[in-house]
């Protein structure tokens, strides 16, 4: 069972709620995914359409809400959004996203670290979205991040785990759960992340923009389970470094 900040999750697939064609499709896809935690963003109410409220279709009894700070360009903005999120959702959980570059939406490491440190002190359960930098992952853990969320590839690019080499290092060194987030474009990517030893994955775009989001959500759920099963049953990534047929180092000196 996956445990983050003392809360257990039956599913290692976390869902995003953005980019869906309609709230109903979103609702059905999330249900099909089996997820137990979903992200939401914060925006100004559209005063022209007051009834448009995502929370009408998100069952909080079923899903742990994980508000994100998308839109924040620095720590100060992220902290303000965090406070709004806590007030809006009555939850301490927070996906910290500080993305100053609107084109790549890559996370700012300096602002993310600063915001994490401050928000942890304020009692938030912070899950920072980060580039797959192993040292940054350690620094975030040192200041109290409840998990780390290294990206597989930039948001929305669906490129798979471009950062695999570094993600493996992060997993190896991690003292908190590692959730691979962003860039997972196909169920096989999610399976790969789990086979590497990731504790969970977060998928949004790939499900929301699929031809049949409900079926795609199910596919991702199966992939996450398959990958985790493989990892737990001792999958050895086949990479032989020593060539057994080459002459051995001289051990004739041994008595």
């Amino acid at each position: 069972m996956l445990t983050i900040a003392g809360k257990t999750f039956g599913s290692r697939l976390f869902g995003g709620t953005g980019k869906f064609a309609s709230p109903e499709v979103m609702r059905d896809a999330l249900a099909a995914s089996g997820t137990e935690m979903v992200t939401v963003a914060l925006r100004r109410v559209d005063l022209a359409d007051p009834a448009d409220d995502i929370m009408q279709v998100l069952d909080r009894a079923r899903y742990q809400l994980l508000p994100n700070t998308s839109g924040a360009r620095d720590a100060r903005e992220a902290i303000r959004l965090a406070h709004l999120a806590r007030a809006a959702g009555s939850t301490e959980w927070l996906k910290l996203e500080v993305t100053p570059d609107p084109r790549t939406l890559l996370p700012d490491p300096v602002e993310t670290l600063a915001a994490t440190e401050e928000l942890v002190k304020e009692g938030f359960i912070v899950l920072p979205y980060m580039n797959a930098d192993p040292i940054l992952a350690l620094r975030l853990q040192d200041v109290g991040a409840a998990a780390v969320m290294p990206l597989g590839a930039p948001i929305g690019t669906n490129q798979g785990i471009v950062t695999a080499f570094q993600v493996r290092i992060i997993i190896e060194q991690a003292r908190v759960p590692v959730v691979v987030d962003a860039g997972l474009g196909a169920p096989s990517h999610a399976a790969q992340a789990m086979e590497m030893g990731a504790d969970a994955v977060l998928v949004n775009t790939a499900i929301a923009v699929a031809g049949d989001p409900v079926r795609m959500a199910r596919a991702f759920a199966m992939a996450v389970e398959a990958g985790r099963e493989a990892y737990e049953s001792g999958l050895g990534e086949a990479r032989v470094e020593a060539d057994a047929s080459s002459p051995h180092a001289g051990l004739d000196f041994l008595r």
Binding site: G18, V40, A41, L42, M55, S70, H83, A88
Partner: protein, 66 residues
């Protein structure tokens, strides 16, 4: 009396409280978080907080996001 609400100027009756504004906008107070002049209001305060001339309000809610 004029206030700024979500970046737009709005005329309201003097003596209005936040809950009155939300009702006027057909917004469920449970679904919205209110920031008034930079400070986040607690939900019970919606019924008591008086709006002043020139107040800057942000009405924020959850939307879909990754």
């Amino acid at each position: 009396m004029k206030i700024i609400c979500n970046g737009e100027e709005r005329t309201i009756t003097p003596g209005s409280k936040v809950c009155d504004l939300l009702r006027e906008l057909a917004l469920d107070s449970e679904a919205v978080v209110v920031e008034c002049d930079g400070a986040i209001l607690k939900r019970p305060e919606y019924d008591t907080h008086l709006l002043a001339d020139g107040s800057v309000l942000e009405l924020i809610r959850f939307v879909g996001g990754g």
